[in-house]
Symmetry: C4
Subunit: 233 residues, 4 copies
């Protein structure tokens, strides 16, 4: 029996959540889970339909993208996951989808403005949209560079990946993450709903104002602050 | 056996209607039921997923927000419910959701204009959107003040909570209520559909005219007037 | 056993199709079937939820709106159905819904322009939107006048109810009909889809051109003409 | 037992995928499969609802539209399929739907611009919208000419049907194809989702830029190039 059984099972279950939540069509998405102690991560195999995916199909790799276990080819986005795990030490899972509304914002190359408390309950800034990569990055090791495009954008904006757990890639689609892969899946679903609400508000009222600062802070503290009183303790 | 068994069961059933009607994602919503004689109300616990919610998880509180029964922390919106129950004596249940279209209007900080008879069958004015709270109210006892923001807006507009059983909070989302919690749930679903139709009409024709006065009155009387002839008597 | 058993069963089944096709929320719709020989029609009772509706709840009335059989109050739209059956001798069933996109066009007080063959396969003109009724008609026998508003608009535009089997009522919602109630239900679903496609085309390209005349005629003849070759003969 | 049993079964299964994927309402669509050796193709019968469709209802025809097997009238779009099979030797299946968003673009008479990698993973040009046919073509052998309208547009734009496996027909709806009918069905679903995302991006930001060339090439090569690394080999 595989020593990565549990890791692969967790990865499998997270991946199966994506079609159940309406976040992927066909194979347009993938979830991964990291094992920090052994410095490996488990990810969906490339191009395998969710209907036939099994836990034993999950591929385990190290951070240099060497396959440690599994006979299938890993997701074509694997190198992006590897870069994020290497660079951001506190994330436990990553999800990539082409969910409809989030992808529409990514195609429009626009940050999703913070317009309401549904957004503010999860992060206190606009959801960042990283700009298109320059041609050299694209021509090079593309998926590896995709990871760096995300990290660089977070550094340029002084964002923390523990506070802002989602990003859009211009012309591409979203990535989300979290302390656990369950949180990463949750953030993908929240992002899609926030993207949908913001689309509706912006088309209804193109000059819609951003949320006022006092409200941003209040909602953030309510959920994350020292005196947090949301959820069960 | 709890003396609040029936109250908690009614509250549980109302809460379970919200995901069934497509009005909540994850835990973004809550329903409460009041017992006027004992001056207590039952409400959903905070952050508990609908899939695992049980009737015994429901929390019972008095109008001063003291927990009377229940081991879980009540919804973070509890104080808003308490203020509305205290101030408005004729309402029996309250529902709060972040349903997509209603929330999009709240984010746009716009009243939902009365454009058709689907709307007029339920209320004869635009669905009010209370303005953003001022910074002092937000920094203070926020959820308590949210209740007052609603009540103050109704007073400012001379609206009756028995005639207008729904409101949007700018940058936040809707609250609805009714003589019973079943009515409050019904109003949440009606609001979402009216919000969706109004979004479509307004984006199709930005200068869409409001419903003419004669038609507003007719539809209102048809349902609520002395000579009402809608539904079974 | 009722002599109207079959009529009531047909009416019941047609009504149950409306929620199944996603055309009604709660009780916002009704279907009726006429018996031309006995000059009566069967219609849904008012305000009865679809989940609990039974064939024996269906109400049978004559064209003067007298209840012939049934203990429940008939739909509040009954008089509109009666006027249409009286005046248009070749229709066998009528459906009224508040389906989302069709209602959005009715609220915008706009005809649905003929933009494609999905529309042209069913009718060769814009889907007419009858203007708002004048105040006298509204204050009078409202639902009866609603029927006349439809008939008058068809006469004003020289439309035949056998060629154009659907209409929007400004600020209200659609009515559809057909040789049978099954056709009337079918037309409600087609109308909703055509309304949705036209909404999308018009918001994507506000100056979208109407379908060219040659194509309108071709598609119409293909389905309805002497040399029809659509469907099984 | 029919010598076309297998062909008809494949055609039946492809057709049944269309409602399952939400791509057709009622009978608004059809799929066909070709047998290159015997120079025949199997197609859905005209106007038969999916709920009652059976494999033995499928009609087999030669490329001159003569029925080779089957007692039902074939789809009214049969001649369009025949022209495409005759002219394009490498396609194995064809699907026609009136899926909502793709049809909305066809009605708007606009190509779907390439805006993101969801699109670029499947084709590297805008999805072509063939212009409305001229009146002579329409008045003549319409469905036959529809096939030529597609072929001529591909020639005019120097497009290869093996690289671009989908097209919109102005005022009508999409056709897709592929090496197999399963691929053709897949392309119909991909087209609908790409059309939906592009609709959202274009209404959110009317001046949305097309995807940059380097990214188009990269995504194309990733899937189709010599060094392809998407999916299992």
């Amino acid at each position: 029996m595989s020593q990565y059984q549990e890791l692969k099972q967790a990865c499998y279950e997270a991946n199966m959540q994506l079609p159940a939540l309406g976040l992927v069509l066909f194979t347009f998405g993938n979830a991964s889970v990291v094992d920090r102690e052994r410095r490996v991560f488990a990810i969906k195999p490339s191009g395998v339909p969710y209907a036939t995916l099994k836990a034993e199909d999950i591929v385990v790799l190290d951070f240099a993208n060497n396959v440690v276990e599994g006979s299938k080819r890993p997701s074509s986005d694997t190198k992006t996951h590897a870069v994020l795990y290497s660079h951001w030490e506190h994330i436990g899972g990553i999800v990539h989808t082409h969910s409809t509304y989030a992808t529409a914002w990514a195609q429009a190359q626009r940050d999703i403005p913070i317009l309401g408390t549904t957004h503010a309950d999860h992060l206190t800034v606009d959801i960042p949209c990283a700009p298109p990569m320059d041609d050299q990055m694209i021509a090079g090791d593309y998926e590896h560079q995709t990871g760096w495009q995300i990290i660089n954008e977070f550094q340029r904006r002084s964002l923390s990946p523990e506070e802002v757990e989602m990003v859009l890639l211009s012309n591409h689609a979203p990535f989300t993450w979290g302390k656990t892969v369950e949180k990463a899946v949750y953030h993908s679903a929240v992002l899609e709903e926030v993207a949908r609400m913001a689309y509706l508000s912006c088309t209804l009222r193109p000059d819609v104002p951003r949320l006022k600062e006092a409200l941003i802070q209040k909602h953030y503290e309510r959920k994350h602050g020292v005196h947090s009183y949301y959820g069960q303790s």
